[in-house]
């Protein structure tokens, strides 16, 4: 498939590739997709006590647009609050990368990955709050 420059840039120079310690209290991990479907995204966030996402990392098994969409998502959520990040929209990702219609599901997956990472962080920290109190 022929892609636009932004997508190719994210594919060729993916931002924020890597992994964080899943078990760390301040890290939220989202893994979405399935190998049989041809794409799996792992997206992780590290959240400061004030609720700011101080770091984000991803690893993606998938086509060029899946890799680019997850790279872009990590770039967008870094430095934002958890609340702001949870408002990320797949359509914005799709527009930014000029995804062709058949690839829009890659942006949906990236949005899902962000939400899953936030949900994981929340569940950890709500649970932690409970035990602390």
């Amino acid at each position: 498939m022929q892609y636009g420059d932004k997508l190719n840039d994210h594919f060729n120079n993916p931002r924020n590739v890597g992994s964080m310690d899943k078990s760390a209290q301040d890290v939220g991990t989202g893994i979405v997709g399935a190998p049989e479907c041809g794409d799996v995204m792992k997206l992780q966030i590290q959240v400061a006590p004030d609720g700011t996402i101080v770091d984000a990392k991803f690893k993606t098994f998938g086509c060029g647009s899946a890799i680019a969409a997850s790279s872009l998502a990590t770039e967008w959520i870094k430095g934002r609050s958890v609340e702001q990040a949870s408002e990320i929209k797949n359509t914005d990702i799709a527009n930014e990368l000029a995804l062709p219609p058949v690839k829009v599901h890659c942006s949906v997956l990236a949005e899902d990955a962000v939400r899953a990472a936030i949900a994981d962080w929340k569940s950890k920290n709500l649970a932690a709050n409970k035990t602390e109190n």
Binding site: F11, P35, V40, K42, K59, T60, F61, G62, C63, V102
Partner: protein, 433 residues
């Protein structure tokens, strides 16, 4: 105004075909790109173009014009090509019906038999790993009251004759099994299937598009009644093909799918594509002359590619039978890496993939699925197909680039990371979408 005809012979002489005589026969790849997708199509061999050129220019007659020399010349070119195509499959010129390509040949064979023999039976046997040009006509017939038995190949992609035999009923009018699979290069036991078709009195069609010029074909020894062929897979022009139609032992009759002027024994109306057909003939002659040398050379390059890639990477699976394969095809699955992303990394190498992300349907390869390859490995598959103009240097470059690209993408792959950590990926509860 300059007359459109006759063309100035000088002007036709100094176009690209002849003026760069330095180049070896065959088109060179576009600048900087390496072509390893010969199963998709092939460049026109320059010798083929030279054969075609007169029929595009000075000798432009209609082969059906019986009343003048323009027509006779065209007719002579078509007759010669008919014999050249026939020779490569041990048939006679009269058995050859020229078409627009293998897709049309498959349609004519399958629908033509189904309509002609409808009163005899409504059962067709084929294979789910066939090309869409066979699958879709069968599916259409299924909506029109035909029963289709889809005989799955084994795990190596080979269709077992016993499985075909077991599917035959007294209503079976056609068996259609491809000679060579386009995605894996796997060679089916055509002679054995032909023999049992003969024993049971069933017409046998084979799509030999990917076999022509790569393995010896013999419609007599193989018991083939109908054989689909295409020019553009053997360094001929696009949009030209043929259907071999047996005329005796038994005589196979077809309902034509194109009504009109009654060309091609009434089986395919339409003014013949004389330059294309002349090119197809030349392509067959060259393929026949060079088959032994070429297949040896190409197989050596293909084997080197596989050996080189596998030496540099673990978890690479070869799809398809290791030896029952044509010379140029290598279908490999690179675990933990998705095919389209690998093709993007291999930016200046033209290959194809069984990944869903490369198809409009968003389904992974139906061929690999039919062989029982899991969807995950189908998404990770790449087909390298080598051919007449592939060089050793290209193979070495592709080995190097493939290893580098797969390694990079594995560093990016959560599946690779999990596998390294000892996670059994088949046991993970994935949140699919």
């Amino acid at each position: 105004m300059k007359p459109a005809w006759p063309l100035d012979p000088k002007s036709s002489e100094c176009n690209c075909a002849k003026c760069d005589g330095e180049k070896p026969a065959g088109a060179s790849a576009p600048s900087g790109m390496i072509y390893m997708d010969y199963n998709a199509t092939t460049p026109l061999d320059r010798r083929v173009l030279d054969t075609m050129m007169p029929y595009l220019t000075d000798d432009f007659g209609n082969a059906a014009s019986r009343s003048h020399a323009f027509g006779w010349k065209a007719q002579a070119a078509v007759d010669q090509a008919r014999d050249e195509v026939a020779k490569l499959i041990n048939a006679q010129g009269k058995d050859i019906v020229f078409t627009s390509g293998a897709t049309e040949s498959d349609n004519l064979a399958i629908k033509g038999v189904a309509e002609m023999y409808r009163s005899k039976g409504n059962h067709i046997i084929t294979c789910p790993a066939e090309h869409k040009a066979v699958i879709d006509p069968c599916k259409r017939l299924a909506t029109e009251g035909f029963d289709i038995t889809w005989v799955a190949p084994d795990a190596n992609g080979v269709v077992q004759p016993e499985a075909v035999a077991a599917a035959i009923t007294d209503k079976t009018v056609l068996i259609s099994i491809m000679a060579v699979n386009n995605e894996t290069g796997v060679i089916n036991p055509i002679a054995e299937i032909g023999r049992l078709a003969k024993q049971r009195g069933v017409i046998f069609h084979t799509d030999a598009t990917q076999a022509l010029g790569k393995i010896p074909l013999d419609v007599e020894a193989m018991g083939v009644d109908l054989m689909s062929l295409s020019a553009h897979k053997i360094y001929g022009p696009k949009g030209v093909g043929a259907l071999y139609v047996r005329r005796s032992g038994p005589r196979v009759r077809l309902v034509c799918q194109m009504d009109g002027g009654g060309h091609e024994r009434g089986l395919r109306s339409g003014t013949l594509n004389v330059p294309g057909i002349a090119g197809f003939g030349a392509a067959c002659r060259i393929a026949g002359d060079e088959m032994t040398e070429a297949t040896e050379r190409i197989a050596r390059l293909r084997d080197r590619l596989e050996e080189g890639v596998m030496a540099g990477l673990d978890k690479v699976q070869r799809n398809g039978h290791p030896t029952l394969r044509v010379c140029g095809t290598s279908n490999l699955s690179f675990a933990y890496v998705e095919g389209e992303s690998l093709m993007m990394k291999l930016a200046n190498v033209a290959v194809s993939s069984g990944s869903a992300c490369t198809s409009a349907s968003l389904e992974p390869s139906h061929v690999l699925k039919a062989m029982g390859v899991g969807d995950d490995l189908a998404h990770s598959s790449i087909r390298f197909s080598l051919g007449r103009f592939t060089t050793e240097a290209e193979v070495e470059y592709v080995i190097e680039q493939t290893i580098k690209s797969v390694r990079e993408l594995r560093q990016l792959s959560p599946l690779y990371e999990m596998a390294q950590e000892g996670v059994d990926l088949s046991k993970v509860a994935w949140k699919g979408h």
